[in-house]
C-alpha cells in the first residue's frame, strides 16, 4: 500500500513547482510575446498542454488515494459492523431464550388459569343446573300445593255442607228427642196422677173395708180386691210398656243422658209400685182379718136370734147397708171413670206409637220416594239422552238414506235397531242393578253415615297433615332456593372478579391471542429510547476507550518525558500512522474525518453527524417554507402593484435601497424616483413615512416644473402632484391618440 502511495508527493511537488514557474515566467513569456508572437503562442500552447496533463494526472492520483483511504475506512467500518452484528446476535439469542422461557411460563400459567376457569365454569354450570332443577321442583311442588289446597278447600266446603246437613239432622233428631221427653214427662205426670188416685182409692178402700168389716160383703170386696190387683197388673203392664218404650227410646238415643235419668226416675217409680204392692198385700191381710171378723159376726148372728137382735142395731145396719150400697155405687162410678181413663191412656199410647210408626214409615217412604224421584229423573235424563241419540241416529239414517237411496239400508237399520234393543236391555239391567244397590245402601243403618263422617274427618285430618307436610317441604324448598340464590350471587361476584382479572389483563382466556400492531406508539417510543440509549452507550464506550488510550499514552509519556511532542503524537496515533501523515499532506474532507476520529470517538461523531443531518433536514424544510412564503409574497406584491396601477394610473417599482420609482401609465417618460425621507428630516412627519422626490425621468408634461414648484415645493403634497401629473399625461396621451387616428 505504501509502495503505491510513495510516489504521490512527487507530482504534487512538481505541480506546485510548475505552478510557481508558470507564474514567474508569465512576464518573460509576455516579453517573448511582444517579440515573436507566433512562436510564443505555439510554445505557450504546448506548455499549457503539458501542464494540463500533469495537473489531471495529479488529480487522478489524488482521487485514487482518497478512494483507497475510503475503502480502508469502509473495511474497518464493515468489521466493526460485523462485530456489532455478532454482539447483537448473541444478545438476540439470549433475549430469545429469555422470551422462550417467558412464553413457557406464560403458557403454564395460562393453562393453570384455564383449568381453574374451566373448573369454575363447570361448578357454575352444575350449580345452575341444580338451581334450575330445584326451581322446577319448587314449581312442581307449588303446583301440587295449589292442587292440594284447591281440592282440600273443595272437600272442606263439601264437608261443611255435609256438616250443615248433619247438624240439621241432629237438630231434627233433638227436636224429636225433646218431643219424646215431653211425652215421657206427660206420661210420668199421668203415672203420678194415677198413683195419687190409686192412693186415694186405696185409702178410701181401707176406710170402706174398715167400715164394711161388719157388713160382710166379702164377695164384693174380693172382687174389688181382685179388680184392684188386676188394675195393679194393668199398671204394671203399663209400666213395663213404658219401660219398654223407655228402653226403645234409650236404644234410639243411647247418647242422651237425660233419657237414662228419666229411665232411672221411671225405675224409681217402679220401686214405688212395689210399695203399692206391699200395701195391696197389707190390704189383703186386712181383708183376711175382716173376713175372720165377719165369720165371727156370722157365728154371732147364728147364735143370736133375730128377736134378740135389737132394733137399733138393725136400723144402724140398714143405715150402714144403705151407706154401703151408696158407697158401692160411688166406687163403681169411680172404677168406671178409672177404666175410662185407663182406656183413654192406652188409646193415647197406642195412638202415639201409631203416630210414631206412621211418622217413621212416612219418613222412610219420603226418602224412598226422593230416591225414586232422583232415580226416575236420572232414568228420564238417560231416556232423553237415548231418545236424542236415537233421534240423531235417525237423522243420520235419514241423511244417509237421502244421499245413498234406499235398498240395503233397511237391513242395516234392523240390525242397528236390534243392537239398540240389546243395548237398552243392558242399560236396563244395569239400572236395575244400580237401583238395588241404591236400595241396599239406603237400607244401611245411619251409623254408617257417622262412620262415613268419621272417615271423612279422618281423611280431612290426613289431608291437613299432608298439607302441612307439603307446606313444610315448600318452606324447605324456598329456603333451598334462597340459598341457591345467594350462591348465584356469590358466583356472579366471582364472575365479575374474574372479568376484572381479564379486564386488568392478568388472565388471557384460552384460545385467545393478544395482538398489537408492530408499529404502535409504545413500541416506537421504546425503539426511540433504545436507540438513544444504544447511541449513548456506544459513545460512552468509545470515550472510555479513548480515556484508557490517553491514560496509557500519558503513562508512556511520563516514562519518556524527554521525547519530543512529535513523538507523543506518533505514540498516540494508531496503526494508521503513515496514512494520517499522508492525509495531513493532502487537503480534503477525508483528512478532516480522520482528524475527528483522532480527537473524538466515532460514536460521538456519528451522533453529531446524525444531529447535523437532522438539523440540515430541518433547515431545508425551513428554507423550502421560506421560499414558498417568498413566492406567495411576490405573487401578492404583484397583485398589489397591479391593483395600484389600475386604480392610480401609475406603475410602482421598489428598489432594494428603499427607493420607489413611479412611472405614469400614460407617459412612460414621466418617471419619478422617490426616497423615504429620514425620520429626523420630516418636519410634519405624523408617523407616516414621508417621501422625497430625488430624480425624475426625461419625459413628462411641459408644465412639469410648474407643477413641481406648486405641489412639491409649496404644497408639499406628492399625491396631489402625482394626480395632476397623471391628469396632464392623460390629456397628452388622449391628444396623441386622436391625432394618430386622424392621420
Amino acid at each position: 500500500m505504501s509502495s503505491r502511495k510513495a510516489p504521490l508527493p512527487k507530482p504534487q511537488a512538481s505541480a506546485s513547482r510548475l505552478r510557481t514557474t508558470t507564474t514567474t515566467k508569465r512576464d518573460s513569456l509576455a516579453a517573448e510575446l511582444e517579440r515573436d508572437p507566433q512562436l510564443s503562442t505555439a510554445k505557450r500552447q504546448q506548455r499549457a498542454h503539458a501542464l494540463n496533463t500533469t495537473l489531471s494526472q495529479a488529480a487522478l492520483e489524488r482521487k485514487l488515494a482518497s478512494a483507497e483511504t475510503t475503502r480502508l475506512q469502509l473495511e474497518t467500518r464493515l468489521r466493526e459492523r460485523d462485530t456489532t452484528i455478532e454482539r447483537l446476535e448473541a444478545d438476540r439469542r439470549w433475549l430469545s431464550e429469555r422470551e422462550q422461557e417467558e412464553r413457557e411460563e406464560k403458557v403454564r400459567i395460562s393453562k393453570e388459569r384455564e383449568e381453574e376457569k374451566a373448573k369454575a365454569e363447570q361448578d357454575i354450570r352444575s350449580l345452575r343446573s341444580s338451581l334450575s332443577t330445584l326451581q322446577e321442583e319448587c314449581a312442581d311442588l307449588q303446583d301440587k300445593y295449589d292442587a292440594l289446597s284447591h281440592s282440600t278447600s273443595q272437600r272442606l266446603a263439601a264437608q261443611f255442607a255435609e256438616l250443615a246437613s248433619r247438624e240439621s239432622q241432629v237438630e231434627s233428631l233433638s227436636a224429636e228427642l225433646r218431643e219424646a221427653h215431653e211425652a215421657a214427662t206427660s206420661h210420668s205426670a199421668e203415672v203420678l196422677r194415677l198413683q195419687t188416685s190409686l192412693d186415694a182409692h186405696a185409702a178410701a178402700q181401707t176406710d170402706l173395708a174398715r167400715r164394711e168389716a161388719e157388713e160382710a160383703s166379702w164377695s164384693v170386696l174380693r172382687a174389688e180386691l181382685a179388680r184392684q190387683a188386676e188394675h195393679t197388673r194393668h199398671l204394671e203392664a203399663a209400666h213395663s210398656r213404658a219401660t219398654a218404650e223407655l228402653s226403645t227410646l234409650r236404644e234410639r238415643h243411647t247418647a242422651i243422658e237425660v233419657l237414662r235419668e228419666e229411665n232411672r226416675a221411671l225405675e224409681r217409680r217402679a220401686a214405688a209400685a212395689d210399695e203399692l204392692r206391699e200395701t195391696v198385700v197389707r190390704l189383703e191381710a186386712e181383708a183376711e182379718a175382716a173376713r175372720a171378723e165377719r165369720e165371727a159376726w156370722a157365728r154371732n148372728s147364728v147364735l143370736d136370734t133375730p128377736a134378740t137382735t135389737p132394733v137399733s142395731i138393725t136400723q144402724s145396719l140398714s143405715v150402714l147397708r144403705l151407706e154401703h150400697a151408696h158407697l158401692l155405687e160411688e166406687h163403681g162410678a169411680d172404677r168406671a171413670a178409672l177404666r175410662e181413663r185407663e182406656a183413654e191412656l192406652a188409646d193415647a199410647q197406642a195412638h202415639e206409637a201409631d203416630a210414631r210408626a206412621t211418622a217413621d214409615v212416612l219418613l222412610h217412604a219420603n226418602r224412598a220416594a226422593e230416591n225414586r224421584a232422583t232415580r226416575a229423573e236420572r232414568v228420564a235424563a238417560l231416556a232423553e239422552r237415548e231418545v236424542r241419540f236415537l233421534q240423531a241416529l235417525n237423522a243420520s239414517y235419514v241423511s244417509e238414506e237421502a244421499t245413498q237411496g234406499s235398498g240395503d239400508i233397511d237391513e242395516a237399520k234392523e240390525q242397528h235397531s236390534k243392537d239398540l234393543e240389546v243395548l237398552v236391555s243392558e242399560y236396563k239391567a244395569h239400572i236395575y242393578a244400580l237401583e238395588t244397590e241404591i236400595q241396599e245402601l239406603a237400607k244401611r243403618p245411619a251409623l254408617e253415615h257417622s262412620s262415613g263422617l268419621q272417615a271423612l274427618r279422618d281423611e280431612l285430618a290426613n289431608e291437613k297433615n299432608a298439607l302441612q307436610e307439603a307446606q313444610r317441604a315448600l318452606d324447605e324448598k324456598v329456603e333451598a332456593a334462597e340459598q341457591d340464590r345467594d350462591k348465584i350471587e356469590q358466583l356472579e361476584q366471582t364472575l365479575f372478579e374474574l372479568r376484572g382479572e381479564i379486564g386488568a389483563g392478568r388472565h388471557v382466556p384460552p384460545g385467545v391471542r393478544v395482538l398489537s400492531l408492530v408499529a404502535n406508539p409504545a413500541q416506537d417510543w421504546a425503539d426511540l429510547r433504545q436507540a438513544a440509549l444504544d447511541r449513548l452507550k456506544e459513545e460512552n464506550a468509545a470515550l472510555l476507550q479513548r480515556l484508557s488510550v490517553l491514560e496509557a499514552s500519558s503513562i508512556r509519556g511520563g516514562r519518556a518525558s524527554t521525547s519530543t511532542p512529535a513523538d507523543v503524537s506518533t505514540a498516540t496515533a494508531t496503526d494508521t500512522d503513515t496514512d494520517t501523515n499522508v492525509r495531513d499532506a493532502t487537503t480534503g474532507p477525508s483528512s478532516m474525518t480522520a482528524a475527528a476520529e483522532e480527537l473524538v470517538p466515532r460514536a460521538s461523531w456519528t451522533a453529531v453527524c446524525q444531529e447535523k443531518a437532522q438539523l440540515e433536514e430541518e433547515l431545508r424544510q425551513k428554507e423550502k417554507r421560506m421560499l414558498r412564503l417568498r413566492q406567495v409574497f411576490a405573487a401578492k406584491t404583484a397583485e398589489f402593484r397591479e391593483a395600484l396601477s389600475a386604480i392610480l394610473g401609475v406603475k410602482l417599482a421598489f428598489y432594494d435601497n428603499g427607493q420607489v420609482r413611479v412611472t405614469s401609465q400614460y407617459d412612460l417618460g414621466a418617471a419619478f424616483v422617490f426616497q423615504p425621507a429620514p425620520r429626523s428630516a420630516g418636519s410634519g412627519g405624523g408617523g407616516a413615512a414621508r417621501m422625497q422626490l430625488v430624480a425624475q425621468g426625461e419625459g413628462g408634461p411641459q408644465e412639469l416644473p410648474q407643477l413641481m414648484r406648486n405641489w412639491v415645493e409649496m404644497e408639499q403634497s406628492i399625491p396631489c402632484f402625482l394626480a395632476s401629473v397623471t391628469l396632464e399625461c392623460y390629456d397628452k396621451w388622449k391628444r396623441e391618440q386622436e391625432m394618430s387616428v386622424r392621420e
Binding site: R499, R506, V512, R513, V514, S516, V518, A522
Partner: protein, 211 residues
C-alpha cells in the same frame, strides 16, 4: 329517496352495518380516552360533531394513520367474529408500567351464520344505539373524576384479543404482552355497554391504584 331511507330504517341492522357502527365507536372512544387521559397534548385535538354531541378527534397525522390501520383490521375481524376484546393500554413512558387498561369486550349477540334468518328479531333503532354510545362516551369523560391523576408522560398501545384461528396479517401484527396490572394494585370499574342487533360491547376500565 325518502321511502328507501324509511325501508332502511325499518330493516334490522346487518352484520356489516353493526361492524361499521362498532368500528366507528372504537375510533371515537379511543380518541376520547387519549384526550381525556392526556396521552397526547390537547392542542392535537379538534372538535367534531358526532352522536349528537361534540367529540374530540386527533389531528396528529401519525396517530391518525395508526388508528386507521387498526380500525380497518378490527373491522375485518369483526366481520369474521374473530375479535373478542379491544384494550387501550396507557403506559408510563419512564417506568413502562401499564397505568390504565380500557377494555372493550366484544360479544356476538347473534352468530353470523344466523344473520340471514334473523330478520324477525327485535330491531333496535339506530337512535337508541347512538344514545347508548353517547352515554358510554360521556361516562368515559366522567371517569376523569375518579381515575388517579396521571402526572407523568405516557404512551399508549392498542391490544386486540382474537381467537387462535383468526387470520392475522403476518408482518403487521405480533403477539404481545397483555400489559397486565398487578392484582394487588388494580382497581376496576365497569362502564356502560351498548349493543346492536349483532354485537354487544361492554366497557370496563382497570387502573393502577396504589393507595
Amino acid at each position: 329517496m325518502a321511502p328507501t331511507k324509511q325501508a332502511a330504517l325499518r330493516q334490522s341492522i346487518t352484520l356489516k352495518g353493526s361492524t361499521d357502527l362498532v368500528t366507528e365507536f372504537f375510533k371515537y372512544a379511543v380518541n376520547t380516552i387519549l384526550f381525556q387521559r392526556g396521552v397526547y397534548p390537547a392542542d392535537d385535538f379538534h372538535m367534531v360533531k358526532k352522536y349528537g354531541q361534540t367529540v374530540l378527534i386527533t389531528q396528529d397525522l401519525a396517530l391518525e394513520n395508526y388508528l386507521e390501520k387498526i380500525l380497518i383490521q378490527i373491522s375485518t375481524w369483526l366481520l369474521t367474529g374473530a375479535v373478542t376484546q379491544l384494550v387501550v393500554a396507557i403506559i408510563s413512558k419512564d417506568s413502562r408500567t401499564p397505568l390504565e387498561r380500557w377494555a372493550f369486550d366484544i360479544n356476538l349477540v347473534e352468530q353470523p351464520s344466523q344473520g340471514t334468518g334473523g330478520q324477525a328479531q327485535s330491531n333496535k333503532p339506530e337512535a337508541e344505539i347512538q344514545a347508548e354510545i353517547r352515554s358510554i362516551l360521556k361516562q368515559i369523560v366522567s371517569t376523569v373524576t375518579f381515575l388517579p391523576i396521571i402526572d407523568e408522560p405516557t404512551v399508549f398501545n392498542i391490544l386486540v384479543y382474537t381467537h387462535e384461528s383468526a387470520d392475522v396479517p403476518a408482518n403487521e401484527w405480533v403477539d404481545t404482552d397483555p400489559l397486565a396490572i398487578e392484582a394487588s394494585k388494580s382497581q376496576q370499574v365497569k362502564l356502560r355497554s351498548f349493543s346492536t342487533d349483532v354485537h354487544r360491547i361492554e366497557a370496563m376500565v382497570s387502573y393502577r391504584y396504589e393507595g
